[in-house]
Symmetry: D3
Subunit: 127 residues, 6 copies
């Protein structure tokens, strides 16, 4: 029986339409509780809070993940989520370009190449 | 004679009303050209681009700087700039809370304590 | 009314005897829900899991926080918690020394100086 | 003729049974002295110190490497070493889950996927 | 029409003989202005300054990029540029070995393996 | 009785004239063996290798430490060491300015402010 927090997180994930089910299943094979936490804490507790709309939440996600430099799989996930939450491709590119200021060219370039892959995958899928 | 890029950057900095002049003068004592680059590249080249409005630019800045964990002086500067660009204090707090997802509790806590200091300084200054 | 997760987290914090109440009150002034999450998620969800004992949890905390290099306040908190969970001072020093392998001399040295401060504070407090 | 430090380090590496010989040979092609330092300093100087047992040393290694986020090859090595030093798979998963607190979801997820690969490789090898 | 800064940056890139054209074309597909900034700011503004010669500039690049740990594509680019600017392979290996002090073994090892790939590619190309 | 590696490292430290004795004594109070390792491994093993001269070693140190963003005490130490090894103040400033490319403005600015402090301290000491 899922917690209220889980259900709230799951609603956000459905709205972001990120195809996360497969990834959670993959994670559940090794750490089923952690797959639950992924839904409950970041999405159920944090991103469901009404103080920021979902598009702004994804701006935050893309900016923070790009600045880290090493979080490419999670950045690709949130580039897709940002597009689904109403960011245009140009806006995503602009966010990534801006991270050069705070984290330097390698982080920004890795982010832009990640965006290029996401855009290409969506073009190939016709989405 | 200032370059067009410098003037464009300076306009952004005036709009953000960050009292940056003193900091640039401080920097100029050791690296005058770098003080010029600070205006020209991040503000003149990047943040003046019209694809994102200034409030969104500051959301990106706060999120990226908080995720780095070690950029407290720059984060405090951009928390102030975010408030001046139209973010409410609650929105700034929400952005910082959200960075816990990507960068963990120390980075988010350091960011929230930095915000507390900025809010207190502005309260003390009556701004 | 506190959640079960909060109460579970609070039990852990009491066992670690870290004097966290003041810090949570401080945090609550700016982000009361985040102060709640700090108890619920890291302590209520994660550290209360029985798969690792509390002493091992604190070995993990000290090692991870020292490796980040910038998380000094949180590292000092967990050096104290490690001592309260049964680590000797020498064991804490050994953990910090070992992080030189993974994160280099600055991170390890910052960690060792943080430990020195914690030890001195406890000596001064007679604890 | 190997130094005493090298021999002490080599004993630790044998005990961890990590199949490091091939990696050291690979490294020696470009930086033979560095391959020597890898044995002498982390293993001969640090991890051979008796203040922590080898299992605890590997808890420290897994926690610190996962927190860095970018050290996947070294993390996989030490996940294997942790298992050989007496950690159960569940304990390794718990350590990695706990790093979410200090370094965020991307670092913890990258760590868990690395563990999944190591477990799969060992299953395939029947070890 | 290219800016003076662009032309100055391009001269540096030609002197470093890094075959950057293909990479810039690749980047231009998603972010054409960013491809322009890559030439103008790091190379036109910074690396063209006469206070350090080009070989020293590449020592700085290799050391800083290796210390970050996650910037492998950019590190490979600058290992090649360092060789073209007059560093010997042994000097590049020494710089990378030295980064172990500041950033630990994973960063240094990742750097050394990146160098090995660059050397092998150049051997294969007969350059 | 000091090892040969210790003596070799100590020679380098004397040549760099960094007043390290006080810092090592401070460290020895909590971790005497680590104070020994600090001399033996970074200075005795690595920086004493003849493949790079001491001035280039300090260029590497300043670049790598500035890129990390959080290593201010160690960066200040090596800014002083770089000056003693023959770098001019302008060269140190140039190295720090260049790190903006790889690690962004916060890391470069933190580095430049650290240099300003070191220069001021030396001016005050008349050195």
């Amino acid at each position: 029986m899922d917690s209220e927090r889980y259900q709230r997180g799951w609603e956000i994930l459905k709205e972001l339409d990120t195809g996360v089910s497969e990834q959670l299943a993959n994670l559940s094979e090794i750490a089923p509780e952690f797959a639950k936490y992924v839904v409950e804490f970041p999405f159920g507790d944090i991103c469901s809070r009404p103080e920021l709309d979902l598009k702004t939440r994804e701006v935050v996600a893309v900016a923070a993940l790009a600045a880290l430099g090493y979080a490419t799989p999670q950045l690709k996930f949130h580039i897709g989520a940002a597009l689904n939450a109403g960011c245009s491709r140009q806006e995503v590119v602009e966010i990534l370009m801006q991270t050069v200021i705070y984290a330097g060219f390698p982080a920004a370039l890795n982010g832009l190449y990640a965006a290029k892959e996401v855009f290409r995958e969506r073009d190939a899928a016709g989405s």
